[in-house]
Point group: C2
Chain length 332, copies 2
């Protein structure tokens, strides 16, 4: 039986988390009790929300304790099962955390249906980031065919899917991303209608106006801060702002002050946050949609794999520095 | 026949509008054509939205042109009628503008039902500010009995009604207003549960935390800026922010930057603006509600009357300096 390699939270970050906030640890695997399964982790999802689980500030879930394994969703293969419905060799997703061989509760773990997509599809375009894009854009954003949709963080895990769903739904899609390579990927591979490279644009608001001359109906906001402020200036009457993330504010010495909220009153704009977990009962609907368009070739997602559990802290830091193109995962 | 005294827009303000942006004018009254009525104005409503109609910035309606009479809603009495359904002596409300004897289209003017409320009631707790409070709090705010409602600009035309509706709906109501006299009025006369005097509080966020220890479910925002930023820190899971106005930002040299929008994502908050005119079809519902509670003594509103049409520019400036307690009108 292998050991369980773990990465534990060692200190609470105040800015962008890095290796100094974690430490590696090895323990014997814990044999599964009744209702439990032992899993060999393959992919661990690296998400912006993780920052809020480990900082000192308020979070929508319990903070990860110092000395506890870092919390994370992951995909792996069942090694041993004492839970009904699971056999060794089954692929599953669940709360692996940053652990190579976690023992998980069967009732908190889902078997992957590999007739719907590959293991990599389940880590990407069928995973939680994709569900976030689906419910954010459709339920919170309430997008309608023919509308103009602006997506920031468009090259990221959620953004890529949100941008493609907007295209599938007959919307005009403009992505905002940082750097020429990401922008090329969005236009050439994901076929967005237009892309704004915020690192190359001295005036984001002007760039948005040029790309969306008739204004923006839905702004899917993954970044907050200055790009949000700029986007507010181009909103149309009745526009919706989907407050999905504000990754630009992680590690910011001083939070950016958003000046253009006047658009809300004058243009009856709705700006709304959400938690994907609230839609849990409707995950099957979202997965049916995502799998359908995945099979039809209308949805794709680059997995950005950082290999090695010990690289998880570096991968998390990379996320906040914008180093990934596509859904970021750690390969174990 | 009297002359029509008018106040015309003379220049576009960049900050708070004042006398220097208007000029007085007298013209002969225009006899009503078919479908029109000649009205003697009694009360003219002075509202924060007026600023957006005369500035250089974008507005949700056409800007008032230089040399045109200032646009405004008002109440008056029919002097002469060539419109079906109107008789001399009828009390009406409509788009009087800043004019003593406007000629109005009958189909854009409503007769007041004085069995429902007095002329002063129609200028106050049955008027457009009250409708704004009703739809903002109930439809946009979606308030539920037992919730905690924070209202800024609570002593103003919309705020007073919003605060009282929240109380009628079995919510705990905390008002924010500037100055001891306004605060006394809110607690002693309007019976709010608690009041925060923002001019006397060095730390608004702390004052809101003390007044709302379990957090805020609905923040009815009439002011924007710093008080909005502070309120965002006390929002509960699933809270709603009704973006009704941002009067604190009128005349601000530099728009205030709102730093605490992170609450939206982490607490699935909805922040939404609206235009009361969108609810036009439901005005009868709102008026039935307001009239019912007015008769029952559960709703009251102080009219703050500035007498004299020539005082309209000064009244508008007073509004932005927070000089009024209650619904501000010009008496003609």
């Amino acid at each position: 039986m292998p050991d369980n390699h773990r990465i534990l939270l060692a200190a609470r970050p105040t800015g962008i988390p890095g290796s100094e906030h974690f430490r590696a640890d090895v323990e014997p695997v814990r044999p599964p009790g009744v209702g439990e399964i032992l899993v060999a982790t393959r992919y661990i999802s690296i998400d912006p929300a993780m920052r809020s689980w480990i900082g000192a500030g308020p979070s929508y879930v319990r903070q990860v304790g110092i000395g506890e394994p870092m919390r994370a969703g992951g995909i792996g293969r069942v090694v041993e099962s004492k839970a009904a419905g699971f056999q060794p060799g089954d692929w599953v997703q669940g709360r692996t955390g940053w652990q190579s061989h976690p023992t998980l509760k069967g009732d908190q773990t889902q078997k992957l249906d590999l007739s719907v997509g590959t293991v990599e599809d389940w880590a990407g375009p069928l995973g939680t980031s994709a569900l976030t894009a689906y419910f954010g854009l459709r339920d919170v954003g309430a997008l309608k065919p023919g509308e103009t949709v602006l997506v920031s963080g468009a090259a990221g895990g959620v953004g890529q899917i949100a941008a493609q769903i907007a295209g599938i739904e007959a919307c005009r899609v403009i992505g905002v991303a940082g750097g020429a390579e990401k922008c090329r990927y969005l236009t050439d591979t994901l076929k967005l209608d237009a892309v704004i490279d915020y690192k190359a644009e001295p005036d984001i608001a002007a760039a948005i106006r040029r790309a969306c001359p008739d204004g923006v109906d839905v702004y899917f906001d993954n970044v907050g801060g200055q790009i949000l402020d700029a986007a507010l200036l181009s909103l149309r009457m009745g526009a919706r702002v989907v407050s999905c993330g504000r990754i630009s504010q992680t590690g910011a010495a001083e939070p950016y002050g958003v000046k253009n909220l006047g658009a809300l009153g004058g243009k009856r704009v709705r700006m709304e946050g959400f938690l994907v977990f609230d839609y849990h009962d409707r995950y099957p609907e979202a997965r049916a949609y995502l799998a359908h368009h995945l099979r039809a070739g209308r949805l794709r997602q680059r997995l950005h794999v950082v290999e090695g559990l010990d690289q998880a802290p570096a991968a998390l830091a990379m996320l906040f520095h914008g180093g990934n193109t596509g859904k970021l995962v750690v390969g174990v």
